[in-house]
């Protein structure tokens, strides 16, 4: 559905993307992960034709992006992280503008608002919406056109966990209806639960890719079992037969409080690969 070959891009001599190859299958949720400034937004802009690459090729719907017709573009929904809404217009009027542009009947508005849970706020001016509602309005705006491909640049950044989960459900429902979704995030947990496939972008290169669970398994070379004792101490054991006896004894003696095996998460994989923490910036912001 979406393929890129050897995408290079630099701004004023600073290389942002160096050789990005992607192949995104139809009907999947693809997550592009990477720290702030990695070039995620830049890559979306290149794939959607908003920005030219220095070299490389992008194909969408099997066509070079440069050759996409107006009709092709009408099947692509794009939500960039900085996109705005008309503050003074009501929620419904905001959508009407885009119905008019795309030639969609207004009857689609009710359905789109229903889908994102904003039906009760249709008459509210967009300026009066909460952050989560605003995010859902922007989603309704791209859902409206019933796209075959959705590009979502950080669709849940800065939202509360409830809204985040809600949006995850919406995105999955779209995928189940046959839509291909390309999203970016720096939230590893989100990527794990939401994406069928992810690629980790760091310093201009894709450093790892695949299904989240499969990536984690691949990096499960520590294989440790961590035990928290009732007395408060922590012990960790190797994941092998030798440890079984000792762990069994702890259970028999009733000293065991909790027990976990340490599977890597996307987060720990990323740190291992890059020596960088992905959300460091966000943590500072929320500290």
């Amino acid at each position: 559905m979406i393929t890129t070959k050897g995408i290079f891009k630099s701004f004023a001599g600073k290389t942002v993307l160096s050789g990005i190859d992607l192949d995104i299958k139809s009907g999947t949720v693809f997550g592009l992960l990477g720290p702030s400034g990695a070039g995620k937004t830049t890559l979306i802009k290149i794939i959607t034709g908003q920005l030219g690459a220095d070299s490389g090729e992008v194909h969408v719907f099997g066509k070079n992006v440069k050759d996409l017709t107006g009709d092709d573009k009408k099947q692509i929904g794009i939500m960039m992280d900085d996109h705005g809404v008309y503050d003074r217009l009501s929620v419904a009027d905001n959508l009407k503008v885009f119905c008019d542009i795309y030639g969609i009947p207004y009857s689609g508005i009710g359905k789109a608002l229903e889908e994102v849970g904003l039906a009760d706020s249709a008459k509210k001016p967009a300026a009066k919406l909460s952050k989560g509602m605003l995010a859902r309005l922007k989603l309704a705006r791209v859902f409206l056109i019933e796209p075959k491909i959705l590009f979502l640049d950080e669709p849940t950044s800065g939202l509360d966990p409830m809204t985040m989960k809600y949006i995850h459900r919406l995105i999955k429902a779209r995928r189940d209806a046959g839509c291909t979704v390309f999203l970016t995030t720096h939230n590893m947990e989100e990527a794990t639960v939401l994406c069928d496939e992810v690629a980790l972008l760091n310093e201009g290169k894709i450093v790892e890719r695949g299904q989240p669970s499969e990536i984690c398994r691949r990096y499960n070379h520590q294989k440790k079992i961590n035990i928290h004792l009732k007395t408060g101490g922590d012990v960790s054991f190797a994941h092998d037969a030798e440890s079984a006896g000792e762990i069994g004894r702890l259970i028999e003696q009733g000293r065991l409080e909790t027990i976990h095996s340490s599977e890597p998460t996307l987060e720990t994989v990323f740190i291992e690969l890059t020596g960088r923490k992905l959300e460091a910036e966000e943590e500072i912001r929320y500290a």
């Binding site: 960039m80 705005g84 008309y86 542009i101 795309y102 001016p125």
Partner: protein
């Protein structure tokens, strides 16, 4: 082309909600009605306020509102969404321009109510032409500025020069000599003659030069900044 209509319609919906722009459309027409009916000074030229305020309105409202609308849309990143939806820059600018022009013409229609019926076609004709120049100047500022703040700092001086110089020119000859190169002052002169026969070649020439300059500046701004 259809998208220009969509933009026009969107702006129309925003009119009553957008107080800063709305006041531009209403202020001078309302003041004209008020002053013409309330103030009667002996020896005052006929329809003094209508003519004076018409030219001030023309030099102020379209420049301010076109620049404000475009720069707001840039600042709030709604313009990008439109471009993404395949609205062409010229469709957008045409929609906004037509909207501003139409509402200003409606204002001119209100101001024309005090005129003798025979003068109305001439009055509306020169208002229509002058408003086009002002809309282009406003759009030029809107395109050039990247946010509302910088648009304001640009359109305030420009709008002051064009809308106040005809008034100041009445009181000061030196100002008149400078002001006569502005389209607003020429429209003020035409407004006083109020007939197609009396139009001097000089006025036409100055109007054309003003219009050409506005268009050239507009394209220069557009080439430099686009609608990003």
């Amino acid at each position: 082309m259809r998208n220009a209509g969509v933009i026009f319609k969107k702006q129309l919906k925003d009119t009553l909600k957008n107080k800063t722009v709305l006041i531009q459309f209403i202020m001078f027409p309302a003041m004209t009605l008020l002053m013409e009916n309330a103030v009667k000074i002996p020896d005052m030229p006929e329809l003094f306020f209508t003519k004076l305020f018409s030219v001030m309105f023309l030099g102020m409202a379209p420049i301010t509102s076109a620049a404000a609308i475009i720069s707001e849309e840039k600042e709030k990143n709604t313009l990008r969404v439109l471009m993404m939806a395949n609205v062409k820059p010229w469709e957008y600018l045409l929609g906004v321009g037509l909207y501003v022009w139409t509402l200003c013409m409606a204002g001119a229609g209100i101001m024309a109510t005090g005129l003798p019926a025979s003068d109305i076609p001439f009055y509306l004709g020169i208002m229509a032409a002058g408003l086009v120049i002002s809309v282009v100047i406003g759009a030029c500022i809107g395109v050039f500025a990247s946010n509302q703040m910088s648009a304001t700092s640009l359109f305030v001086p420009v709008m002051m020069v064009f809308s106040f110089s005809p008034m100041l020119a009445m009181f000061n000859d030196k100002i008149e000599k400078v002001a006569r190169v502005f389209y607003t002052q020429q429209l003020r002169v035409l407004m006083n003659q109020m007939s197609f026969e009396g139009i001097k070649t000089e006025s036409i020439l100055i109007l054309v030069v003003n219009a050409v300059l506005a268009v050239v500046l507009f394209f220069a701004a557009f080439r430099k900044k686009g609608l990003e």
